[in-house]
């Protein structure tokens, strides 16, 4: 991946925030919100919880931003905080599997928007099935593979970052991801053929 010469690095943005330029934290949010919300969504299986927790994670990180060590990557730090928060929440309450269709305060059902090129009733149905199938496939993975798959495919962390975050040798990370993807491929067989 080539880096835009104009685009400041995460570490430069953090330095700017610490110098008093609060707006630059918004740039960090823009950069990571999609990955963070999706990562938490797959862990917590609930879109509202994922958004709320992502907000909490950003706030938590902001509060202790001065403790950020620039020799590590910001993304590694952010997702470590997110992972700890998610694990805490999972431990606190026993999660029940929920569908992607959720009820709002008025009792109306509301579908979360999963972007896709598919349109029309059949496409919508397919999207819904796909969303559920992905969740089921990910849930079906053993935890050690599941967290690595999410860190790689939802959080989009590099192998080295995952290795550092999990405290695992790089080779182990690659190995587990290899096996995890194979399992995922088998579980998503119906969807990889369409």
């Amino acid at each position: 991946m080539t880096r835009d010469a104009e685009m400041p690095t995460d570490e430069e943005l953090v330095a700017a925030v610490l110098k008093g330029d609060r707006e630059r934290f918004g740039d960090l949010i823009d950069r990571y919100q999609g990955r963070l919300v999706n990562y938490l969504f797959r862990l917590l299986r609930n879109a509202d919880d994922a958004h709320d927790m992502a907000q909490e994670v950003f706030v938590k990180v902001y509060q202790v931003l001065d403790r950020f060590d620039p020799q590590y990557r910001f993304s590694t730090w952010l997702f470590r905080v997110a992972q700890n928060a998610a694990i805490d929440q999972i431990r606190r309450r026993r999660l029940k599997l929920v569908s992607l269709h959720q009820e709002d305060e008025g009792g109306e059902t509301r579908d979360w928007d999963l972007p896709s090129g598919d349109r029309g009733p059949y496409g919508e149905l397919r999207n819904r099935e796909r969303g559920d199938a992905i969740q089921e496939a990910i849930d079906g993975l053993p935890w050690e593979y599941r967290e690595l798959i999410l860190l790689r495919h939802m959080a989009e962390l590099a192998y080295e970052e995952i290795a550092r975050l999990k405290g695992m040798p790089l080779g182990t990370v690659k190995n587990k991801l290899f096996r995890g993807r194979q399992m995922l491929k088998d579980k998503l067989r119906d969807f990889v053929t369409d």
Partner: protein, 187 residues
Amino acid sequence: MKKPDHDTFREWLQLETAGDTDLSPERRESLASHVAECPECQAERRDLAHVSQVLARGRLAVRADFRQSVIEALPAAGWESRHPRTWRFPGSVAVLFGLVAAAFFGRGTAASGSPIWGALLAIASFFRATLVAGLGLMQASWKGLGLVCGEIFSSWPALAAFAVLVICLNLLLLSLVRRRAAAPSRH
């Protein structure tokens, strides 16, 4: 160099699909020539690409107001108050005050010793005067409070009027709290 086996190529395929930068151009080249001849690896590459696509399509769209809600939720972090910028203005005012005090008060006392010593004495006198004034004000306000209390407790009608005032203020506060609790919270 020993030619990689089929399993190694399968591993490289995964790295390639995942966009891993570890895969060197030589390995990519070697992989491409292996895949061109191996139907199993061709199918594997196709499947892995589809898995990545399916995962990408299953991504949740982030709420449009998410960024704004995070920015609004950001508290004043502890490190912000420790930042030099926070103390720049009050610090500058203190230094300016010291300089002005030294310039005005130091001049008069310079004759009794060195100008710096005179300025320090003058600043100390100023702080002492400020302290005395503060204590005086506090004493006066306590005295004022005593007078008000004396007035209230001097007669039954005054005491009753005061009680009605206190009850009304409490009712007003209660209605405000209830209205705030009833208002829908923005999420």
